[in-house]
């Protein structure tokens, strides 16, 4: 039997990117920059909230970055990039009209269909808000499909809050319960100060009917999970997104492997019950 034809899926040229165009940029903070990106020929990326793609600049390399727009946005998609290494530094230098290589989307998204009819509790720490923004925009777009929408957002300081215009919209939207906190305030800061877990005890949740979606730095997960545990939120109702270095995006290169799970295939979005037995997860 021919090895090329005996598979369920057709073997693919997995490593060739699409050359997509940058159509808008917005510098949120010194470290974070937002890009709107358009695939050639008006093609849709076709992603689910929570999925990621691999972005590359020739001569520099490739890295996995979450898509931060909802699939409801048509004709283009958004990413928000934190400057942490060489590639992201070079991405920050890109301007409107320039092209960037895109492969994807990859990985699991939030199972939004299963979330229908539920209360959605979204907890984002730092740049964790970036992948969550695609979920937030999705649930806002289909507002009537969901129960309460509660957003908890924590940042180190007010200057590091991302998507400032949207934060204001969420705050002003009576159908969204939006709570923000910063670790360290400034004289002008009127809101909460303290770590994000301080926002959790005050929540009154319909435990069986609430889905929690959490994204943040590794240290945050531990404490948020403990806080939700003390609320007695069922662990099957908790979803989180993990970050690992990825080279291939398709479950081959091995870099993102957590025990027997590939973050690029089985994640980045996991149901907590799926990873609680993976000691290397967080």
């Amino acid at each position: 039997m021919n090895i090329l034809t005996k598979h369920e899926h057709t073997p693919l040229e997995l490593y060739y990117p699409e050359m997509a165009e940058i159509t808008a940029v917005n510098q949120f903070t010194e470290l974070e920059k937002w890009f709107e990106i358009k695939l050639p020929d008006g093609k849709e990326l076709g992603h689910q909230p929570g999925q990621f793609a691999l972005f590359s600049i020739f001569g520099i390399g490739e890295a996995a970055i979450s898509i931060c727009s909802a699939p409801t946005k048509k004709g283009a998609f958004d990413i928000c990039v934190r400057k942490v290494g060489m590639l992201t530094e070079k991405m920050h230098q890109l301007e409107v009209g320039q092209k960037i290589g895109v492969r994807g989307p990859f990985g699991t998204g939030f199972p939004v269909n299963d979330f229908k009819g539920k209360d959605i509790l979204i907890i984002g720490g730092g740049i964790g808000i970036v992948p969550l923004r695609s979920l937030i925009n999705h649930v806002i777009a289909y507002r009537e499909d969901f129960g309460r929408i509660i957003i908890l957002y924590g940042a180190k300081n007010p200057d590091e809050l991302l998507f400032p215009d949207e934060l204001e919209n969420w705050d002003n939207d009576p159908s969204i319960e939006y709570h923000v906190t910063v670790d360290q305030g400034t004289p002008e800061w009127q809101g909460n100060t303290g770590v994000i877990t301080t926002l959790i005890p005050g929540l009154d949740l319909d435990l069986d009917n609430t889905i929690a979606a959490i994204v943040g730095p590794p240290i945050m997960y531990k404490f948020v999970l403990m806080a939700l545990k003390s609320k007695r939120l069922p662990e099957d109702n908790i979803y989180m997104s993990l970050e690992r270095r990825m080279k291939c995006g398709v479950g081959k290169c091995g870099h993102c492997q957590i025990n027997d799970s590939y973050v690029c295939l089985d994640g980045p979005v996991y149901q907590f019950s799926d990873i609680k037995n993976l000691p290397e997860a967080i």
Binding site: G59, I60, G85, M86, E89, K90
Partner: protein, 255 residues
């Protein structure tokens, strides 16, 4: 290529040598096939071995050699002040290299062995890597510096990106080349804990790795010593072999 005529867009680079054999600079001149291409991208504004010109400031200063005299210390501070990016070139500059072997013996004995009662004519310090005195931005390892690594760093700096720093051991490159392991020939080799980036050139030519590129981060030295002694070296010989290019102990006094 003088400073006056050079268009400002090209990075101005300079080469300096300290205590060394100057083999790294020679190795650079041995890039015959690429030398003219390299000169397309940069202007060399100071390079004592090859030219008379001197310059006041440099975009990139490449430093060869260890710091081993009081006047070296002054000179390297001066270069650092005038260089935007400072790159240490080769083992002597990066790790102290073979020069640092002298640090293993009492300095007075070393001086006396070579100059006898005239030893005080020539001031000397323990041999130190450049990073013991000033901030080093990038390092190109090897004795002599590896040409492939030099090109990687050079291209990255000219393109304004950070060069990828190897952190795996020589064994990896040896396996990629499908070399026979020298241990299987009854030899001992420092490849298992020596930083890669040389394309395993010595083992590929049947010679043991001498550790000239320095050790990998968090090298398990005890395990390495066990390997060396299991393969026939005495513990003393094994320790000496490890120290061949890795004798430097950073003295606090010159930080």
């Amino acid at each position: 290529m003088s400073t006056q005529t050079a268009p400002k867009t090209k990075p101005q680079i300079a080469f300096f040598d300290f205590t060394s054999c100057e083999g790294c600079q020679l190795n650079k001149l041995n890039l015959e096939n690429h030398l003219l291409e390299i000169l397309e991208h940069v202007d060399i504004v100071e390079f004592r071995e090859a030219m008379d010109d001197k310059a006041d400031a440099y975009d990139i200063a490449f430093i060869e050699g260890s710091i081993s005299t009081p006047s070296c210390v002054e000179r390297i501070h001066d270069i650092r002040r005038r260089a935007k990016i400072l790159v240490a070139l080769g083992s002597c500059a990066v790790t102290g290299g073979i020069n640092a072997m002298k640090n293993l013996q009492p300095i007075e004995d070393v001086r006396e062995t070579v100059y006898g009662k005239d030893k005080y004519l020539f001031p000397t310090l323990p041999a130190m890597p450049v990073s013991a005195i000033v901030k080093v931005d990038y390092e190109i390892h090897g004795c002599p510096m590896s040409i492939p690594e030099f090109l990687v760093v050079f291209k990255a700096l000219v393109m304004g990106k950070q060069p990828i720093k190897p952190d795996s051991p020589v064994c990896v490159e040896c396996k990629l080349r499908e070399n026979e392991c020298l241990y299987d020939r009854g030899m001992v080799c420092l490849g298992p804990i020596t930083l890669s980036g040389c394309d395993a050139i010595c083992p590929s030519f049947g010679q043991f790795c001498t550790g000239c590129r320095g050790l990998v981060p968090d090298a398990n030295k005890n395990a390495m010593l066990d390997i060396l002694t299991d393969h026939g070296l005495s513990l003393q010989e094994a320790e000496k072999r490890l120290l061949l290019f890795n004798s430097y102990k950073q003295p606090d006094t010159f930080k």
